[in-house]
């Protein structure tokens, strides 16, 4: 096995006297996709913020390519939770993607070099058609494609996605997941994919990190998504069913969160 791109050792985070997670260990190798699951408030988004170096863990450490996350920020692609843009915002799809190339640099910048990258990223996600359209009038699915292009345009060393499928219809969900999957296979970028619904990503998931209060479990889908593991995590009887190619969790604290509504 190759050197891990991401390594987390003994990560613990306390927030307002509450332990979000404790002693979290994991490693991500090139091209691996890890889904992060768990109930609301389990600290899934917080974990991403720790991986970005925006929050310091209470204990433990994270290394990305052997360095502090904060030093790697400009090399991490980030797809945030869907947030609508103002309708009249003077910003085109192309501009949004371009910010992913050089938005963090000082000055006004020249257009030439970024344009090639932007054009390619727009093409890869099939967004060239609406590159000139103001982002505020695009549909949620179109905006999400641009977000993925924005996250991938700089050739990131690591991709973090926070509920990227939220509010997308199933067809767009599939497209979004396929785009991310295709990129990690081609570029070998590991992906941390926070989601409350495992099923849209199920075929692509290498590993599942399940956060539940101060307990957690990590492993393959077959290891983690079992009645025993989830019952242990939640401390109550949980049933995990495999229905054809779907995983359905019954009886959790937020029952119904893990399958399609």
């Amino acid at each position: 096995m190759s050197v891990p791109v991401v390594s987390a050792e003994g990560l613990t985070l306390r927030s307002h006297a509450r332990v979000l997670w404790k002693g979290l260990d994991f490693e991500l190798a090139a091209g691996e996709l890890m889904a992060v699951l768990g109930p609301n408030g389990a600290g899934k988004t917080t974990l991403l913020r720790v991986l970005l170096g925006l929050i310091k863990p209470s204990a433990g450490k994270v290394r990305i390519e052997g360095r502090e996350p904060a030093q790697m920020r400009s090399q991490i692609g980030y797809v945030p939770q869907q947030r609508a843009f103002e309708r009249h915002l003077a910003l085109r799809g192309r501009d949004l993607v371009r910010l992913g190339v050089d938005g963090h640099r000082w000055g006004i910048g020249s257009h030439r070099a970024p344009d090639v990258l932007v054009e390619r990223a727009l093409g890869q996600v099939g967004a060239a058609e609406y590159a000139e359209t103001p982002v505020g009038v695009l549909s949620g699915g179109e905006q999400q494609r641009l977000r993925i292009a924005q996250a991938l345009v700089c050739g990131p060393k690591l991709l973090l996605a926070d509920e990227p499928l939220l509010s997308l219809d199933p067809a767009y969900q599939r497209i979004a997941v396929e785009l991310i999957d295709e990129h990690r296979r081609r570029a070998g970028t590991p992906v941390v994919f926070v989601t409350h619904d495992l099923n849209p990503v199920l075929p692509y998931v290498d590993r599942v990190l399940y956060l539940a209060g101060d307990a957690w479990a990590i492993g393959t889908v077959d290891e983690v998504m079992t009645s025993e593991t989830l019952s242990r995590l939640y401390g109550t009887q949980i049933d995990v069913l495999r229905v054809r190619d779907r995983v359905v969790v019954v009886g959790g604290p937020d029952d119904g969160m893990h399958h399609h509504h």
């Binding site: 970005l52 925006l54 904060a70 920020r73 400009s74 991490i76 980030y78 945030p80 939770q81 947030r83 843009f85 103002e86 009249h88 915002l89 003077a90 910003l91 085109r92 192309r94 501009d95 949004l96 910010l99 992913g100 050089d102 938005g103 963090h104 640099r105 000082w106 000055g107 006004i108 910048g109 344009d115 090639v116 054009e119 093409g123 060239a128 058609e129 609406y130 590159a131 000139e132 359209t133 103001p134 009038v137 695009l138 549909s139 977000r147 924005q150 996250a151 973090l160």
Partner: protein, 324 residues
């Protein structure tokens, strides 16, 4: 009469000062509009007034007092980095108190009442050479600052979460924009007065956001509108001796109305660059775009009103360039 006035030195100074101030206001306005800082601008200018009134009482240059008042409030607002309704209400509370203090200070001031009126409503024709030099210096500082932080400022303004994730120091940027805003406001007060700062900082930029979707072009259009309104207002007030601020705010508002009424181009990049876009980089995979642009370019029909601006999928209408 009008012709004679045009030859006067004080008119030249006024026109120059107006040009300088309008460029700065137009430039920063785009970010003010994107970040939703209209109320903050108002607070900064009104507390600039308090500062100026304080300076008058102390026998100091009111411009210095105004600059200090604006900067202080700008810094506080930037450092607090409040959001949403909390920002709204706390600015309201501080603003009201500051104005109350300003009223007291003015009542203590024994000098000419015109000083106060000038602060509130502007006195562009009263700008002297020394003030003009100061205006130019401050304008240069603001423009240099905006240029230096342009990309991270745009990123943090339109997409704060990803900007932060990508390493943009969003908090520092917020402080910086408030400081630049305070300097800009102090400039604008000298032209249009405390009560009308928004007419140069907000109105042109708000109109520009409706006319294009290109961020850089929006700034250029905003500057152009502020420039036309200011210079037009000064010239009109020479012909018809009504307050300059009235003319400036009227021109600015008229352009804003036109921009609002006019349906926004649905593919606004096209509005100003359809022809440029046709010669897309070779190899770029946008044949569809090129074809569309080619279809669009030769004979520009009147914009199709049918779809308004709402549906992106509607046939992309041919937008007219803005008229100003």
């Amino acid at each position: 009469m009008f012709g004679q006035l045009l030859g006067q030195h004080f008119v030249h100074t006024a026109l120059l000062a107006g040009a300088v101030v309008s460029i700065v206001c137009g430039a920063i306005g785009s970010f003010v509009v994107i970040r939703g800082l209209s109320f903050s601008v108002h607070a900064i200018s009104e507390l600039g007034f308090t500062g100026a009134a304080g300076a008058l009482v102390l026998g100091l240059d009111p411009v210095i007092g105004m600059m200090s008042g604006s900067l202080l409030v700008g810094l506080v607002l930037g450092l607090l980095s409040l959001r949403g309704s909390e920002r709204d209400s706390s600015i309201g509370a501080v603003l009201a108190f500051g104005l109350g203090v300003g009223v007291l200070l003015l009542s203590l001031y024994q000098g000419y009442a015109t000083e106060a009126t000038n602060l509130l409503f502007g006195s562009i024709v009263g700008v002297d050479d020394a003030q003009l030099r100061a205006l130019i210096l401050v304008a240069a500082i603001v423009l240099a600052g905006l240029t230096a932080i342009y990309r991270p400022l745009l990123f943090a303004s339109v997409d704060p979460e990803v900007a932060e994730a990508r390493g943009v120091p969003v908090r520092a940027i917020s402080v910086a924009i408030f400081v630049l805003l305070a300097l800009t406001t102090a400039e604008a007060i000298q032209v249009v007065g405390v009560l009308l700062v928004l007419t140069l900082v907000i109105t042109p930029a708000a109109a520009a956001q409706r006319l294009t979707a290109r961020p850089g072009l929006a700034i250029a259009i905003s500057i152009a509108i502020a420039f036309v309104a200011t210079e037009g207002g000064i010239l009109l007030s020479l012909a018809q001796p009504w307050p300059t601020s009235f003319f400036i705010s009227t021109i600015s508002f008229a352009i804003y109305l036109v921009a609002r009424i006019r349906p926004r181009p649905s593919a606004p990049g096209a509005a100003f660059s359809a022809r440029v876009r046709v010669r897309v980089r070779p190899g770029a995979s946008v044949p569809a775009d090129a074809a569309r642009a080619a279809r669009r370019a030769p004979s520009s029909p009147v914009p199709q009103r049918s779809g308004r601006s709402t549906q992106r999928a509607s046939p992309r209408s041919v937008p007219r360039p803005p008229r100003y």
